[in-house]
């Protein structure tokens, strides 16, 4: 498998000075996806932003994993609602222009 866009979890944790258990728990809550390749654990580079966000929420704001899970789902809902509002606004504009 191509590992070009994958970051070893060990390296990530060392870099951010966080325990590996943090990443494992995020995975248990299905907040990130861990990729296993030749017995090594990786995460995709596209998920780093999410990991950083959850680190800030967990370590800076003392939000536990259940809270992170709820926030993650609610933020996703906010995003979909924003997208829906955009589509509806464009549709409304179309009819208003008629």
């Amino acid at each position: 498998m191509e590992t070009k866009n994958l970051i070893p979890i060990q390296l990530l944790c060392k870099q951010y000075k966080i325990p590996e258990s943090f990443i494992n728990t995020l995975q248990e809550f299905q907040l990130i996806e861990i990729i296993i390749e030749d017995d090594d654990l990786y995460i995709h580079t596209t998920q780093i932003k999410e990991v950083e966000k959850m680190m800030r929420l967990h370590y800076d704001l003392d939000i536990n994993f259940e809270g992170l899970d709820a926030i993650y789902n609610l933020l996703n809902q906010v995003e979909s609602l924003k997208e829906e509002v955009k589509i509806l606004q464009n549709r409304l504009r179309f009819y208003e222009d008629l």
């Binding site: 800030r56 800076d60 704001l61 955009k86 464009n90």
Partner: protein, 294 residues
Amino acid sequence: MAFIDYYKILGILKKATEADIKKAYRKLARKYHPDLNPNDKVAEKRFKEINEANEVLSNPENRKKYDQYGEHWQHAEEYEKAKQQQRHQKSSQESYGKYSQEDFSDFFNNMFGGTSSSARDRKVKFRGQDFNAELQLDLKDVYTTHKRTLTVNNKNIRITIPAGVENGQIIKIKGHGGHGVNGGPNGDLYIQFSIINHSKFKRDKDNLHLTVDLDLYKALLGGEIAIDTFTGKVKLNIKPETQNGSRVKLKGKGFPKYKKDGEFGDLLITYQIKIPEKLSNQEKALIKELQKLR
């Protein structure tokens, strides 16, 4: 530069304990944290204020100095002179967490000479802040893929705007946000398109709509008309007895599909039949004759 009441910002009394400060900070930070309020400038500003207040009040040394000088903070400079060199050496080696110097007010920077020796001991690499910008374009601009140079924070960025972007759509320009902290990667730049339509076409995603006036006789007897498309005129056959409000679809004459090179939506034409006005006596007589025939 005005005095900032950090106690007021955190909503606590002057006699608040360290635990009270921490509790107040956490409560407000959870409410205004940028991760929980994406693209909300007001929340971002509020969070910076809360963070700054916490940086001062959660550090006993800074809090003491703040309490001592308070509104007369400008005199703190003399007091600090003796310690200046020592602190300068120390502060240059410390971590600033994810907050950059520009996240603090002039008041703070002047009084404390930059970020305090906070309790943060994680020297962590963080991505820089994401930037948001709005770009106004005309509908005809987004009919074709084109390049455009934007100036963001005094830096020129050349971006490609793909044909078919929608009003309100956001594209990400990787690495053009704020600088990373402690060697972390730069944030991203998010550009939201605001598309203004000055044309006679109405856009609905990839489809274009156009209302065409049709004279009564052509609608009754059929014929040929030339209509405008986004790229020029085309000839169109009108069927005899075309009804008012009827629609025809010109396949592939609509708007380009976003990131689908060479694919286009349709152009939907609605006929609006124009009834002749100011009829002559002869016309009226002839129409009455027609009426008798029906």
